[in-house]
Protein backbone atom coordinates (compact mmCIF):
# COMPACT_ATOMS: atom_id res chain seq x y z
CA UNK A 1 0.00 0.00 0.00
CA UNK A 2 2.89 2.34 0.61
CA UNK A 3 3.85 4.95 -1.90
CA UNK A 4 1.45 3.98 -4.59
CA UNK A 5 2.58 4.81 -8.07
CA UNK A 6 -0.58 6.83 -8.55
CA UNK A 7 -0.90 10.59 -8.28
CA UNK A 8 -1.06 11.99 -4.79
CA UNK A 9 -4.54 13.24 -4.05
CA UNK A 10 -3.15 16.15 -2.07
CA UNK A 11 0.20 17.75 -2.65
CA UNK A 12 1.31 20.29 -0.12
CA UNK A 13 4.11 22.49 -1.34
CA UNK A 14 5.97 24.98 0.78
CA UNK A 15 2.83 25.68 2.75
CA UNK A 16 3.37 28.77 4.88
CA UNK A 17 1.02 30.50 7.20
CA UNK A 18 2.07 33.56 9.10
CA UNK A 19 -0.41 35.27 11.35
CA UNK A 20 -0.14 38.99 11.33
CA UNK A 21 -1.12 40.60 14.56
CA UNK A 22 -4.50 42.04 13.61
CA UNK A 23 -4.71 45.66 12.87
CA UNK A 24 -6.48 47.53 15.57
CA UNK A 25 -5.05 47.30 18.98
CA UNK A 26 -1.56 46.23 19.41
CA UNK A 27 -0.54 47.25 22.85
CA UNK A 28 2.01 44.53 22.80
CA UNK A 29 3.78 46.69 20.27
CA UNK A 30 5.78 45.56 17.25
CA UNK A 31 4.63 43.85 14.14
CA UNK A 32 5.92 40.39 14.99
CA UNK A 33 4.36 37.78 12.76
CA UNK A 34 3.53 34.42 14.21
CA UNK A 35 5.10 31.84 11.96
CA UNK A 36 2.60 29.10 12.67
CA UNK A 37 3.53 27.09 9.60
CA UNK A 38 6.68 27.85 7.76
CA UNK A 39 7.28 25.93 4.57
CA UNK A 40 5.78 22.49 4.92
CA UNK A 41 5.79 19.92 2.11
CA UNK A 42 4.16 16.54 1.94
CA UNK A 43 1.95 14.41 -0.26
CA UNK A 44 -1.11 12.45 0.56
CA UNK A 45 -2.00 9.45 -1.58
CA UNK A 46 -5.41 7.93 -2.05
CA UNK A 47 -6.08 5.22 0.43
CA UNK A 48 -3.23 6.00 2.77
CA UNK A 49 -3.10 7.39 6.26
CA UNK A 50 -0.54 10.01 7.02
CA UNK A 51 -0.08 10.58 10.71
CA UNK A 52 0.94 14.06 11.77
CA UNK A 53 2.41 14.43 15.22
CA UNK A 54 4.18 17.14 17.09
CA UNK A 55 4.09 19.20 20.19
CA UNK A 56 1.13 21.40 20.97
CA UNK A 57 1.30 24.65 19.03
CA UNK A 58 3.69 23.37 16.39
CA UNK A 59 1.21 24.17 13.64
CA UNK A 60 -0.58 20.89 13.01
CA UNK A 61 -4.02 22.40 13.19
CA UNK A 62 -2.92 25.32 11.11
CA UNK A 63 -1.77 22.94 8.38
CA UNK A 64 -5.16 21.30 8.52
CA UNK A 65 -7.06 24.56 8.47
CA UNK A 66 -5.07 25.92 5.60
CA UNK A 67 -5.56 22.80 3.53
CA UNK A 68 -9.25 23.16 4.12
CA UNK A 69 -8.89 26.76 3.13
CA UNK A 70 -10.37 27.92 6.35
CA UNK A 71 -7.35 30.17 6.39
CA UNK A 72 -5.69 31.81 3.45
CA UNK A 73 -2.05 30.75 3.25
CA UNK A 74 0.82 33.18 3.31
CA UNK A 75 2.66 31.22 0.67
CA UNK A 76 2.80 27.85 -0.94
CA UNK A 77 0.18 25.76 -2.63
CA UNK A 78 -1.99 22.79 -2.00
CA UNK A 79 -2.92 20.74 -5.04
CA UNK A 80 -6.01 18.65 -4.90
CA UNK A 81 -5.80 16.21 -7.78
CA UNK A 82 -3.35 18.57 -9.37
CA UNK A 83 -5.51 21.63 -9.01
CA UNK A 84 -4.43 24.40 -6.68
CA UNK A 85 -7.12 24.84 -4.08
CA UNK A 86 -6.05 28.36 -3.34
CA UNK A 87 -7.03 29.50 -6.79
CA UNK A 88 -10.35 27.72 -6.84
CA UNK A 89 -13.52 29.65 -7.39
CA UNK A 90 -16.58 29.29 -5.27
CA UNK A 91 -18.16 26.30 -7.00
CA UNK A 92 -14.89 24.45 -7.28
CA UNK A 93 -14.32 25.07 -3.63
CA UNK A 94 -17.71 23.71 -2.75
CA UNK A 95 -16.95 20.54 -4.67
CA UNK A 96 -13.60 20.35 -2.96
CA UNK A 97 -15.24 20.57 0.41
CA UNK A 98 -17.49 17.74 -0.46
CA UNK A 99 -14.44 15.65 -1.03
CA UNK A 100 -12.14 16.92 1.66
CA UNK A 101 -13.65 16.76 5.08
CA UNK A 102 -12.49 17.43 8.59
CA UNK A 103 -12.98 16.31 12.15
CA UNK A 104 -12.00 18.91 14.71
CA UNK A 105 -9.97 18.79 17.83
CA UNK A 106 -12.40 20.18 20.37
CA UNK A 107 -15.70 18.36 20.17
CA UNK A 108 -17.41 20.73 22.59
CA UNK A 109 -16.83 23.68 20.37
CA UNK A 110 -17.21 21.99 17.02
CA UNK A 111 -20.90 21.31 17.43
CA UNK A 112 -23.52 24.02 17.54
CA UNK A 113 -25.14 23.80 20.96
CA UNK A 114 -28.47 24.91 19.57
CA UNK A 115 -28.81 22.16 17.01
CA UNK A 116 -30.02 18.69 17.68
CA UNK A 117 -27.79 15.85 16.59
CA UNK A 118 -30.22 15.17 13.80
CA UNK A 119 -29.78 18.72 12.51
CA UNK A 120 -26.05 18.59 12.94
CA UNK A 121 -25.74 15.40 10.96
CA UNK A 122 -28.03 16.51 8.18
CA UNK A 123 -26.29 19.82 7.73
CA UNK A 124 -23.93 18.42 5.07
CA UNK A 125 -26.91 17.45 3.01
CA UNK A 126 -28.49 20.81 3.50
CA UNK A 127 -25.38 22.33 2.02
CA UNK A 128 -25.04 19.71 -0.71
CA UNK A 129 -28.65 18.86 -1.45
CA UNK A 130 -27.78 16.60 -4.37
CA UNK A 131 -26.03 14.06 -2.19
CA UNK A 132 -29.01 12.52 -0.53
CA UNK A 133 -32.74 12.93 -1.03
CA UNK A 134 -34.46 14.50 1.90
CA UNK A 135 -36.61 11.51 2.79
CA UNK A 136 -33.56 9.46 3.54
CA UNK A 137 -31.94 11.92 5.88
CA UNK A 138 -33.57 10.64 9.03
CA UNK A 139 -32.60 7.05 8.40
CA UNK A 140 -29.13 7.89 7.26
CA UNK A 141 -28.56 10.03 10.34
CA UNK A 142 -29.39 7.07 12.52
CA UNK A 143 -27.22 4.78 10.49
CA UNK A 144 -24.34 7.16 10.88
CA UNK A 145 -24.90 7.30 14.60
CA UNK A 146 -24.77 3.57 14.89
CA UNK A 147 -21.76 3.50 12.63
CA UNK A 148 -19.83 5.67 15.04
CA UNK A 149 -20.99 3.74 18.06
CA UNK A 150 -23.87 5.88 19.25
CA UNK A 151 -27.52 5.05 19.59
CA UNK A 152 -30.11 6.01 17.03
CA UNK A 153 -32.27 7.79 19.55
CA UNK A 154 -29.42 10.14 20.26
CA UNK A 155 -30.47 11.92 17.09
CA UNK A 156 -32.94 13.93 19.08
CA UNK A 157 -30.56 15.02 21.75
CA UNK A 158 -28.53 18.13 21.94
CA UNK A 159 -24.76 18.42 22.32
CA UNK A 160 -24.81 19.42 25.97
CA UNK A 161 -26.34 16.05 26.82
CA UNK A 162 -23.30 14.12 25.64
CA UNK A 163 -19.94 13.45 27.06
CA UNK A 164 -16.93 14.62 25.15
CA UNK A 165 -16.33 11.26 23.58
CA UNK A 166 -19.85 10.99 22.36
CA UNK A 167 -19.62 14.44 20.89
CA UNK A 168 -16.51 13.57 18.98
CA UNK A 169 -18.23 10.62 17.40
CA UNK A 170 -20.98 12.93 16.26
CA UNK A 171 -18.31 15.10 14.69
CA UNK A 172 -16.88 12.12 12.86
CA UNK A 173 -20.30 11.06 11.72
CA UNK A 174 -20.87 14.51 10.28
CA UNK A 175 -17.61 14.36 8.35
CA UNK A 176 -18.50 10.97 6.97
CA UNK A 177 -21.93 12.06 5.86
CA UNK A 178 -20.60 13.26 2.53
CA UNK A 179 -18.40 10.22 1.90
CA UNK A 180 -15.31 12.35 1.27
CA UNK A 181 -12.11 11.26 -0.46
CA UNK A 182 -9.86 12.92 2.05
CA UNK A 183 -10.56 13.21 5.70
CA UNK A 184 -8.45 15.51 7.77
CA UNK A 185 -8.68 14.34 11.33
CA UNK A 186 -7.46 16.98 13.73
CA UNK A 187 -7.02 14.93 16.88
CA UNK A 188 -10.27 13.10 16.36
CA UNK A 189 -9.79 10.52 19.06
CA UNK A 190 -8.04 12.53 21.75
CA UNK A 191 -11.25 12.96 23.66
CA UNK A 192 -12.42 9.39 23.23
CA UNK A 193 -12.10 6.52 25.58
CA UNK A 194 -10.15 3.49 24.57
CA UNK A 195 -13.01 1.37 23.49
CA UNK A 196 -14.64 4.01 21.40
CA UNK A 197 -11.29 5.05 20.12
CA UNK A 198 -10.82 1.51 18.96
CA UNK A 199 -14.23 1.54 17.38
CA UNK A 200 -13.58 4.81 15.65
CA UNK A 201 -10.22 3.71 14.43
CA UNK A 202 -11.64 0.45 13.20
CA UNK A 203 -14.38 2.45 11.62
CA UNK A 204 -11.96 4.76 9.91
CA UNK A 205 -9.97 1.79 8.72
CA UNK A 206 -13.02 0.00 7.45
CA UNK A 207 -14.14 3.01 5.55
CA UNK A 208 -10.69 3.37 4.13
CA UNK A 209 -10.69 -0.20 2.99
CA UNK A 210 -14.03 0.23 1.33
CA UNK A 211 -13.66 3.66 -0.22
CA UNK A 212 -9.96 4.22 -0.53
CA UNK A 213 -10.32 7.41 1.46
CA UNK A 214 -7.13 9.13 2.49
CA UNK A 215 -6.57 10.37 6.00
CA UNK A 216 -4.41 13.12 7.29
CA UNK A 217 -4.45 11.99 10.88
CA UNK A 218 -3.32 14.51 13.43
CA UNK A 219 -2.98 13.12 16.92
CA UNK A 220 -0.81 13.33 19.93
CA UNK A 221 -1.50 9.81 21.09
CA UNK A 222 1.46 8.09 19.49
CA UNK A 223 0.10 4.60 19.97
CA UNK A 224 -2.90 5.51 17.89
CA UNK A 225 -0.81 7.12 15.22
CA UNK A 226 1.47 4.17 15.18
CA UNK A 227 -1.48 1.93 14.76
CA UNK A 228 -3.37 3.73 12.06
CA UNK A 229 -0.73 5.41 9.96
CA UNK A 230 1.10 4.17 6.94
CA UNK A 231 3.38 7.11 7.04
CA UNK A 232 4.13 9.55 9.81
CA UNK A 233 5.17 13.16 9.71
CA UNK A 234 6.67 14.86 12.75
CA UNK A 235 6.37 18.60 12.99
CA UNK A 236 8.24 20.96 15.19
CA UNK A 237 7.51 24.67 15.45
CA UNK A 238 5.97 25.11 12.03
CA UNK A 239 8.46 22.96 10.16
CA UNK A 240 8.57 19.35 9.19
CA UNK A 241 11.15 17.50 11.29
CA UNK A 242 10.78 14.06 9.87
CA UNK A 243 8.49 12.21 7.54
CA UNK A 244 8.53 8.59 6.52
CA UNK A 245 7.00 5.15 6.83
CA UNK A 246 5.47 4.66 10.23
CA UNK A 247 7.51 1.69 11.24
CA UNK A 248 10.79 3.40 10.44
CA UNK A 249 9.93 6.60 12.22
CA UNK A 250 8.64 4.84 15.27
CA UNK A 251 11.28 2.22 15.56
CA UNK A 252 14.33 4.25 14.69
CA UNK A 253 13.50 7.91 14.75
CA UNK A 254 16.04 9.92 12.83
CA UNK A 255 15.31 13.33 14.27
CA UNK A 256 16.21 13.89 17.91
CA UNK A 257 12.85 15.52 18.43
CA UNK A 258 11.04 12.41 17.20
CA UNK A 259 13.09 10.37 19.57
CA UNK A 260 12.23 12.57 22.52
CA UNK A 261 8.59 12.51 21.61
CA UNK A 262 8.48 8.76 21.39
CA UNK A 263 10.20 8.35 24.70
CA UNK A 264 7.51 10.35 26.45
CA UNK A 265 4.75 8.03 25.36
CA UNK A 266 3.11 6.22 28.26
CA UNK A 267 3.09 2.57 27.50
CA UNK A 268 1.23 -0.50 28.58
CA UNK A 269 4.10 -2.87 28.05
CA UNK A 270 5.18 -3.83 31.56
CA UNK A 271 8.82 -3.92 30.63
CA UNK A 272 8.73 -0.40 29.32
CA UNK A 273 6.89 1.24 32.21
CA UNK A 274 9.98 2.27 34.02
CA UNK A 275 11.67 3.40 30.83
CA UNK A 276 13.47 6.71 31.04
CA UNK A 277 12.15 9.40 28.77
CA UNK A 278 14.40 11.86 27.09
CA UNK A 279 13.53 15.08 28.89
CA UNK A 280 13.37 18.18 26.75
CA UNK A 281 14.67 21.27 28.37
CA UNK A 282 12.52 24.37 28.38
CA UNK A 283 9.28 25.25 26.70
CA UNK A 284 8.61 25.26 23.04
CA UNK A 285 9.88 28.62 21.73
CA UNK A 286 7.41 31.18 20.56
CA UNK A 287 6.51 30.88 16.88
CA UNK A 288 6.61 34.65 16.79
CA UNK A 289 10.31 34.50 17.35
CA UNK A 290 11.60 31.10 16.34
CA UNK A 291 15.24 30.19 16.79
CA UNK A 292 17.47 30.63 13.79
CA UNK A 293 18.73 27.66 11.85
CA UNK A 294 17.28 24.44 13.14
CA UNK A 295 14.24 25.29 15.18
CA UNK A 296 14.77 22.47 17.60
CA UNK A 297 18.29 23.42 18.49
CA UNK A 298 17.34 25.31 21.65
CA UNK A 299 16.05 22.15 23.22
CA UNK A 300 18.27 19.61 21.48
CA UNK A 301 20.96 17.85 23.37
CA UNK A 302 22.93 17.32 20.18
CA UNK A 303 22.86 20.89 18.98
CA UNK A 304 26.05 22.50 17.75
CA UNK A 305 27.00 25.85 16.37
CA UNK A 306 26.04 24.91 12.86
CA UNK A 307 22.49 24.22 13.93
CA UNK A 308 22.04 27.89 14.72
CA UNK A 309 23.37 28.94 11.36
CA UNK A 310 21.97 26.61 8.76
CA UNK A 311 18.43 25.52 8.29
CA UNK A 312 18.53 21.76 7.86
CA UNK A 313 16.68 20.54 4.77
CA UNK A 314 14.46 17.48 4.57
CA UNK A 315 16.73 14.78 3.21
CA UNK A 316 16.52 11.03 2.99
CA UNK A 317 17.75 9.41 6.21
CA UNK A 318 19.48 7.15 5.93
CA UNK A 319 20.38 8.35 2.45
CA UNK A 320 18.35 6.60 -0.19
CA UNK A 321 15.50 5.60 2.03
CA UNK A 322 11.91 6.73 1.97
CA UNK A 323 12.23 8.55 5.18
CA UNK A 324 13.16 12.21 5.16
CA UNK A 325 14.47 14.14 8.11
CA UNK A 326 15.60 17.71 8.62
CA UNK A 327 18.55 17.43 10.95
CA UNK A 328 22.22 18.12 10.86
CA UNK A 329 22.91 15.41 13.39
CA UNK A 330 20.34 12.69 13.02
CA UNK A 331 20.02 9.96 15.63
CA UNK A 332 21.87 7.35 13.63
CA UNK A 333 24.87 9.60 13.11
CA UNK A 334 27.44 9.65 15.87
CA UNK A 335 27.09 12.74 18.02
CA UNK A 336 30.39 14.34 17.33
CA UNK A 337 30.61 13.62 13.68
CA UNK A 338 29.70 16.49 11.47
CA UNK A 339 27.99 15.41 8.28
CA UNK A 340 30.28 15.88 5.39
CA UNK A 341 28.10 18.27 3.50
CA UNK A 342 28.45 20.70 6.37
CA UNK A 343 32.14 20.37 6.72
CA UNK A 344 32.96 23.00 4.21
CA UNK A 345 31.33 25.71 6.36
Amino acid sequence: MLLQPEMPILQVRNLTKHYLPQSGFSFSGGKSVIKAVDGVDFDLYPGETLGLVGESGCGKSTVARTILRLEEPTAGEVLYRGQDIFSMNRTELKTLRRNVQVVFQNPYAALNPRMSVEDILSEPWVIHPDVLPREQWADRVRELLVQVGLRPEHAERYPHQFSGGQLQRIGIARALALSPEVLICDEPVSALDLSVQAQVINLLEEIQAETNIAYLFIAHDLSVVRHISNRVAVMYLGRMAEIGPASEVFNEPAHPYSAALLSAEPTLKPDEIGRERIPLKGEIPSPANPPSGCRFRTRCWKAQAVCAEQVPQLEPRPPGSNRLAACHFPMDAPDAEIPHHLQST
Partner: protein
Protein backbone atom coordinates in the same frame (compact mmCIF):
# COMPACT_ATOMS: atom_id res chain seq x y z
CA UNK B 1 -26.93 -2.50 15.95
CA UNK B 2 -29.86 -4.60 14.98
CA UNK B 3 -31.98 -3.20 12.22
CA UNK B 4 -35.10 -3.74 14.26
CA UNK B 5 -33.76 -1.69 17.10
CA UNK B 6 -32.80 1.00 14.68
CA UNK B 7 -36.23 0.99 13.19
CA UNK B 8 -37.91 1.19 16.51
CA UNK B 9 -36.01 4.14 17.74
CA UNK B 10 -36.48 6.21 14.63
CA UNK B 11 -38.96 9.00 15.20
CA UNK B 12 -39.50 8.43 18.84
CA UNK B 13 -40.32 11.88 20.12
CA UNK B 14 -39.07 12.54 23.56
CA UNK B 15 -40.21 16.08 23.85
CA UNK B 16 -43.48 17.54 24.85
CA UNK B 17 -45.41 19.39 22.19
CA UNK B 18 -44.95 23.12 22.39
CA UNK B 19 -48.38 23.85 23.73
CA UNK B 20 -47.88 21.65 26.70
CA UNK B 21 -44.60 23.36 27.38
CA UNK B 22 -46.48 26.59 27.15
CA UNK B 23 -49.01 25.50 29.75
CA UNK B 24 -46.10 24.72 32.03
CA UNK B 25 -45.21 28.37 32.15
CA UNK B 26 -48.13 30.17 33.72
CA UNK B 27 -46.76 33.59 32.89
CA UNK B 28 -46.18 32.74 29.27
CA UNK B 29 -49.64 31.25 29.04
CA UNK B 30 -51.18 34.41 30.41
CA UNK B 31 -49.12 36.41 27.95
CA UNK B 32 -50.29 34.35 25.03
CA UNK B 33 -53.85 34.82 26.18
CA UNK B 34 -53.29 38.56 26.24
CA UNK B 35 -51.88 38.45 22.73
CA UNK B 36 -54.82 36.41 21.52
CA UNK B 37 -57.11 39.03 22.96
CA UNK B 38 -55.06 41.69 21.28
CA UNK B 39 -55.33 39.90 17.97
CA UNK B 40 -59.05 39.79 18.43
CA UNK B 41 -58.96 43.54 18.98
CA UNK B 42 -56.81 44.02 15.95
CA UNK B 43 -59.06 42.09 13.61
CA UNK B 44 -62.46 42.66 15.11
CA UNK B 45 -62.12 45.98 16.94
CA UNK B 46 -62.20 48.34 13.98
CA UNK B 47 -64.94 46.24 12.40
CA UNK B 48 -67.44 46.47 15.20
CA UNK B 49 -66.34 49.24 17.47
CA UNK B 50 -65.22 52.12 15.27
CA UNK B 51 -68.44 54.00 15.86
CA UNK B 52 -68.43 53.45 19.57
CA UNK B 53 -64.83 54.54 19.79
CA UNK B 54 -65.42 57.86 18.09
CA UNK B 55 -68.91 58.72 19.32
CA UNK B 56 -68.62 62.01 21.14
CA UNK B 57 -70.72 62.21 24.26
CA UNK B 58 -69.81 65.29 26.18
CA UNK B 59 -72.10 64.25 29.01
CA UNK B 60 -69.72 61.42 29.84
CA UNK B 61 -66.70 63.67 29.61
CA UNK B 62 -63.77 62.27 31.58
CA UNK B 63 -66.04 59.70 33.13
CA UNK B 64 -64.07 57.71 35.67
CA UNK B 65 -63.67 53.95 35.28
CA UNK B 66 -66.70 52.08 36.51
CA UNK B 67 -70.18 51.17 35.48
CA UNK B 68 -71.77 54.55 36.01
CA UNK B 69 -71.87 55.31 32.28
CA UNK B 70 -72.58 51.88 30.96
CA UNK B 71 -70.40 48.94 30.16
CA UNK B 72 -68.43 50.56 27.35
CA UNK B 73 -67.24 53.17 29.77
CA UNK B 74 -65.96 50.63 32.21
CA UNK B 75 -62.41 51.91 31.75
CA UNK B 76 -63.56 55.48 31.79
CA UNK B 77 -64.06 58.00 29.04
CA UNK B 78 -61.96 60.73 27.50
CA UNK B 79 -62.57 64.48 27.46
CA UNK B 80 -65.01 64.05 24.59
CA UNK B 81 -66.84 61.37 26.50
CA UNK B 82 -65.62 58.67 24.15
CA UNK B 83 -65.36 55.39 26.01
CA UNK B 84 -61.80 54.22 26.57
CA UNK B 85 -62.41 50.51 26.23
CA UNK B 86 -63.52 50.56 22.60
CA UNK B 87 -60.88 53.17 21.84
CA UNK B 88 -58.27 50.87 23.28
CA UNK B 89 -59.58 48.00 21.21
CA UNK B 90 -59.77 49.97 18.00
CA UNK B 91 -56.41 51.57 18.67
CA UNK B 92 -54.79 48.17 19.06
CA UNK B 93 -54.58 47.72 15.31
CA UNK B 94 -52.59 50.83 14.57
CA UNK B 95 -50.53 50.51 17.68
CA UNK B 96 -49.50 46.96 17.10
CA UNK B 97 -49.07 47.49 13.39
CA UNK B 98 -46.67 50.32 14.08
CA UNK B 99 -44.88 48.64 16.93
CA UNK B 100 -44.52 45.29 15.23
CA UNK B 101 -43.52 46.60 11.86
CA UNK B 102 -41.01 49.08 13.16
CA UNK B 103 -39.41 46.69 15.57
CA UNK B 104 -39.34 43.93 13.01
CA UNK B 105 -37.95 46.22 10.33
CA UNK B 106 -35.32 47.53 12.70
CA UNK B 107 -34.52 44.01 13.77
CA UNK B 108 -34.25 42.66 10.26
CA UNK B 109 -32.29 45.57 8.93
CA UNK B 110 -30.10 45.94 11.99
CA UNK B 111 -29.29 42.31 12.45
CA UNK B 112 -28.69 41.86 8.74
CA UNK B 113 -26.22 44.72 8.62
CA UNK B 114 -24.80 43.64 11.94
CA UNK B 115 -24.18 40.16 10.65
CA UNK B 116 -22.45 41.50 7.60
CA UNK B 117 -20.41 43.91 9.68
CA UNK B 118 -19.50 41.14 12.07
CA UNK B 119 -19.00 38.27 9.70
CA UNK B 120 -17.53 39.95 6.68
CA UNK B 121 -15.79 42.68 8.63
CA UNK B 122 -13.05 44.57 6.87
CA UNK B 123 -13.84 47.74 5.03
CA UNK B 124 -17.48 46.90 4.56
CA UNK B 125 -17.87 46.18 8.24
CA UNK B 126 -16.15 49.38 9.16
CA UNK B 127 -18.31 51.30 6.75
CA UNK B 128 -21.45 49.85 8.22
CA UNK B 129 -20.35 50.68 11.73
CA UNK B 130 -19.52 54.25 10.91
CA UNK B 131 -22.84 54.55 9.14
CA UNK B 132 -24.44 53.29 12.31
CA UNK B 133 -22.62 55.98 14.25
CA UNK B 134 -23.98 58.58 11.89
CA UNK B 135 -27.49 57.26 12.13
CA UNK B 136 -27.38 57.08 15.89
CA UNK B 137 -26.26 60.64 16.18
CA UNK B 138 -28.95 61.87 13.84
CA UNK B 139 -31.65 63.15 16.17
CA UNK B 140 -34.70 61.00 15.81
CA UNK B 141 -36.98 63.97 16.02
CA UNK B 142 -35.38 65.66 13.05
CA UNK B 143 -35.60 62.45 11.14
CA UNK B 144 -39.25 62.16 12.02
CA UNK B 145 -39.87 65.69 10.94
CA UNK B 146 -38.10 65.15 7.66
CA UNK B 147 -39.82 61.93 6.77
CA UNK B 148 -43.25 62.89 7.98
CA UNK B 149 -43.04 66.35 6.50
CA UNK B 150 -42.01 65.15 3.11
CA UNK B 151 -43.97 61.93 3.01
CA UNK B 152 -47.15 62.67 4.97
CA UNK B 153 -47.71 61.35 8.48
CA UNK B 154 -48.89 57.94 7.41
CA UNK B 155 -48.55 54.86 9.53
CA UNK B 156 -46.03 53.36 7.14
CA UNK B 157 -43.87 56.46 7.15
CA UNK B 158 -43.95 56.51 10.88
CA UNK B 159 -42.79 52.93 10.83
CA UNK B 160 -39.94 53.98 8.59
CA UNK B 161 -38.84 56.64 11.04
CA UNK B 162 -39.09 54.45 14.09
CA UNK B 163 -37.39 51.56 12.36
CA UNK B 164 -34.44 53.64 11.27
CA UNK B 165 -33.95 55.11 14.70
CA UNK B 166 -34.09 51.71 16.35
CA UNK B 167 -31.82 49.99 13.86
CA UNK B 168 -28.47 50.87 15.31
CA UNK B 169 -28.91 48.98 18.55
CA UNK B 170 -29.67 45.76 16.71
CA UNK B 171 -26.78 46.41 14.44
CA UNK B 172 -24.31 46.90 17.23
CA UNK B 173 -25.49 44.05 19.36
CA UNK B 174 -25.59 41.66 16.46
CA UNK B 175 -22.17 42.61 15.31
CA UNK B 176 -20.69 42.20 18.75
CA UNK B 177 -22.20 38.76 19.10
CA UNK B 178 -21.29 37.66 15.59
CA UNK B 179 -17.70 38.69 16.15
CA UNK B 180 -17.58 36.26 19.00
CA UNK B 181 -19.62 33.44 17.50
CA UNK B 182 -17.85 33.37 14.17
CA UNK B 183 -14.67 32.34 15.95
CA UNK B 184 -16.29 29.22 17.28
CA UNK B 185 -15.26 25.90 15.90
CA UNK B 186 -18.68 24.85 14.70
CA UNK B 187 -18.66 27.76 12.32
CA UNK B 188 -15.38 26.48 10.91
CA UNK B 189 -16.88 23.03 10.73
CA UNK B 190 -19.74 24.34 8.70
CA UNK B 191 -17.41 26.23 6.40
CA UNK B 192 -15.42 23.09 5.93
CA UNK B 193 -18.60 21.37 4.88
CA UNK B 194 -18.89 23.91 2.13
CA UNK B 195 -21.41 26.13 3.83
CA UNK B 196 -21.36 29.64 2.42
CA UNK B 197 -21.80 32.79 4.41
CA UNK B 198 -25.60 32.87 4.01
CA UNK B 199 -25.88 29.30 5.22
CA UNK B 200 -23.68 29.88 8.23
CA UNK B 201 -25.32 33.12 9.16
CA UNK B 202 -28.73 31.56 8.94
CA UNK B 203 -28.14 28.21 10.54
CA UNK B 204 -25.40 28.86 13.02
CA UNK B 205 -25.10 32.47 13.86
CA UNK B 206 -28.65 33.74 13.73
CA UNK B 207 -30.00 31.21 16.23
CA UNK B 208 -27.30 32.10 18.71
CA UNK B 209 -27.79 35.81 18.33
CA UNK B 210 -31.55 35.48 18.49
CA UNK B 211 -31.98 35.25 22.27
CA UNK B 212 -30.12 38.46 22.91
CA UNK B 213 -32.01 40.22 20.17
CA UNK B 214 -35.25 38.79 21.48
CA UNK B 215 -34.64 40.47 24.78
CA UNK B 216 -34.08 43.78 23.10
CA UNK B 217 -37.04 43.37 20.79
CA UNK B 218 -39.49 43.04 23.61
CA UNK B 219 -38.26 46.07 25.45
CA UNK B 220 -38.19 47.91 22.18
CA UNK B 221 -41.89 47.37 21.78
CA UNK B 222 -42.42 49.72 24.64
CA UNK B 223 -39.80 52.11 23.35
CA UNK B 224 -41.45 52.31 19.96
CA UNK B 225 -44.94 52.79 21.31
CA UNK B 226 -43.75 55.55 23.57
CA UNK B 227 -41.67 57.16 20.85
CA UNK B 228 -44.73 57.19 18.70
CA UNK B 229 -46.57 58.81 21.57
CA UNK B 230 -43.93 61.50 21.87
CA UNK B 231 -44.06 62.26 18.16
CA UNK B 232 -47.82 62.52 18.26
CA UNK B 233 -47.57 64.92 21.09
CA UNK B 234 -45.17 67.16 19.23
CA UNK B 235 -47.62 67.21 16.39
CA UNK B 236 -45.61 65.25 13.88
CA UNK B 237 -46.68 61.69 14.51
CA UNK B 238 -49.98 59.98 14.13
CA UNK B 239 -52.72 62.49 14.76
CA UNK B 240 -56.37 62.29 15.71
CA UNK B 241 -58.84 61.17 14.60
CA UNK B 242 -56.61 58.10 14.24
CA UNK B 243 -56.33 56.17 17.46
CA UNK B 244 -53.18 54.66 18.86
CA UNK B 245 -52.30 53.88 22.41
CA UNK B 246 -49.36 56.19 22.26
CA UNK B 247 -51.60 58.97 21.08
CA UNK B 248 -54.06 58.21 23.84
CA UNK B 249 -51.26 58.46 26.37
CA UNK B 250 -50.07 61.70 24.86
CA UNK B 251 -53.53 63.19 24.95
CA UNK B 252 -54.21 61.92 28.43
CA UNK B 253 -51.08 63.61 29.70
CA UNK B 254 -52.92 66.93 29.96
CA UNK B 255 -55.42 65.48 32.35
CA UNK B 256 -53.14 63.81 34.84
CA UNK B 257 -54.52 65.70 37.80
CA UNK B 258 -58.11 65.41 36.75
CA UNK B 259 -58.51 62.13 34.98
CA UNK B 260 -55.51 59.94 35.62
CA UNK B 261 -57.08 57.01 33.78
CA UNK B 262 -56.78 58.72 30.42
CA UNK B 263 -53.04 58.16 30.31
CA UNK B 264 -53.01 55.24 32.64
CA UNK B 265 -55.28 52.88 30.73
CA UNK B 266 -53.40 53.02 27.43
CA UNK B 267 -50.14 53.15 29.37
CA UNK B 268 -51.10 49.98 31.15
CA UNK B 269 -51.99 48.39 27.83
CA UNK B 270 -48.55 49.24 26.54
CA UNK B 271 -46.98 47.82 29.65
CA UNK B 272 -49.00 44.65 29.53
CA UNK B 273 -48.10 44.11 25.92
CA UNK B 274 -44.42 44.67 26.55
CA UNK B 275 -44.54 42.40 29.52
CA UNK B 276 -46.32 39.70 27.59
CA UNK B 277 -43.96 39.98 24.67
CA UNK B 278 -41.07 39.61 27.04
CA UNK B 279 -42.51 36.67 28.88
CA UNK B 280 -43.24 34.92 25.62
CA UNK B 281 -39.79 35.67 24.35
CA UNK B 282 -38.18 34.31 27.46
CA UNK B 283 -40.35 31.24 27.18
CA UNK B 284 -39.26 30.86 23.57
CA UNK B 285 -35.71 31.31 24.62
CA UNK B 286 -36.05 28.53 27.13
CA UNK B 287 -37.68 26.05 24.82
CA UNK B 288 -35.23 26.84 22.06
CA UNK B 289 -32.23 26.48 24.25
CA UNK B 290 -31.61 22.79 24.58
CA UNK B 291 -29.66 23.38 27.76
CA UNK B 292 -32.55 25.21 29.40
CA UNK B 293 -35.52 23.32 28.09
CA UNK B 294 -35.61 20.95 31.01
CA UNK B 295 -36.72 23.78 33.22
CA UNK B 296 -40.13 23.50 31.68
CA UNK B 297 -40.09 19.78 31.17
CA UNK B 298 -39.08 18.98 34.66
CA UNK B 299 -42.05 20.46 36.43
CA UNK B 300 -44.43 17.74 35.40
CA UNK B 301 -42.15 15.07 36.78
CA UNK B 302 -41.99 16.88 40.01
CA UNK B 303 -45.72 17.27 40.13
CA UNK B 304 -46.43 13.65 39.36
CA UNK B 305 -45.17 11.58 42.29
Amino acid sequence: MAAAELQESVRVRRHLPWWRLLLRDKFATASVVWFVILLAFVFLGPLFLSDKATAVNLAARNAPPGFSHGFLNILGADPLGRPLLPRLMVGARNTLAIAFSSVICALVLGSFLGMIAGYVGGIIGNLIMRLADVISSFPSLLLALIVLYILEPHVMNLVLVLAITRTSIYLRVTRAEVLEIRERAFVDASRALGGGAPHILRRHIAPLVAPTLGTIVTVDFAAVMLAESALSFLGIGIQPPEITWGLMVAQGRNYLTQAWWLAFVPGAAIMLTTLSANLISSWLRIINDPAQRWRLEISRKEAKP
